[in-house]
Symmetry: C2
Subunit: 117 residues, 2 copies
């Protein structure tokens, strides 16, 4: 993690880590049990392989996920949320509420996803 933040504001510092259009989509996928490259590529937003590789590498560097080898030849990894990554759930839950309020065409998430931990 970089030590030079734009400011000491917790919102600004959070945005340096999750302030892009893809990271929280991958967090959503992992909160829903997805772990593997192919799982993330299958999501309806159709992330490209180069953005996926770049985001997963950033997320590992920031400490949001850990990478675990599940196949030796060829080498294949699974990505698992750390406590820091799992703790993003209230942020994505708030986004669900906001999104559902102002974009009525959006899906309503399952109650299990919206339940407090």
């Amino acid at each position: 993690m970089e030590n030079t933040h734009r400011s000491g504001c917790p919102i600004s510092t959070s945005l340096e880590v999750i302030g892009d259009k893809w990271t929280l989509i991958l967090i959503r996928d992992m909160l829903c049990g997805k772990k593997r490259y192919g799982d993330f590529l299958d999501s309806p937003e159709k992330i490209t392989t180069n953005i996926l590789a770049s985001r997963l590498s950033d997320m590992e560097r920031y400490g949001l996920v850990t990478k675990q080898l599940y196949n030796k030849r060829p080498k294949r990894f699974e990505y698992v949320l750390t406590p820091m990554g799992s703790a993003l759930k209230p942020i994505v839950q708030s986004m669900c509420i906001w999104g559902n309020s102002f974009f009525p065409e959006t899906w309503v998430p399952p109650k299990s996803f919206m339940a407090p931990d």
Copy 2:
């Protein structure tokens, strides 16, 4: 607002509007009472004038803020949150909690900012 979203997911759709490093910084500033160009430029993250102009214009287009003339010559505008913009408060509050938990050097926001509305 564009009608072609990446998917019907409320998280993905929200990120199309607020998924960048600056929009929620400006929302924070407006939630704290800032309204004018110079106020936003004064914030410690030091947004540049061209990014500020671009983000304010996007935010107006998405319906997060309205622009109000407060000086006729020269023309000067104030930016005020719409209900859609104000409703982002729980998202930035969740980011404060997450930021404070995982970046201990970040500021703790005033209780008034963290109170439910």
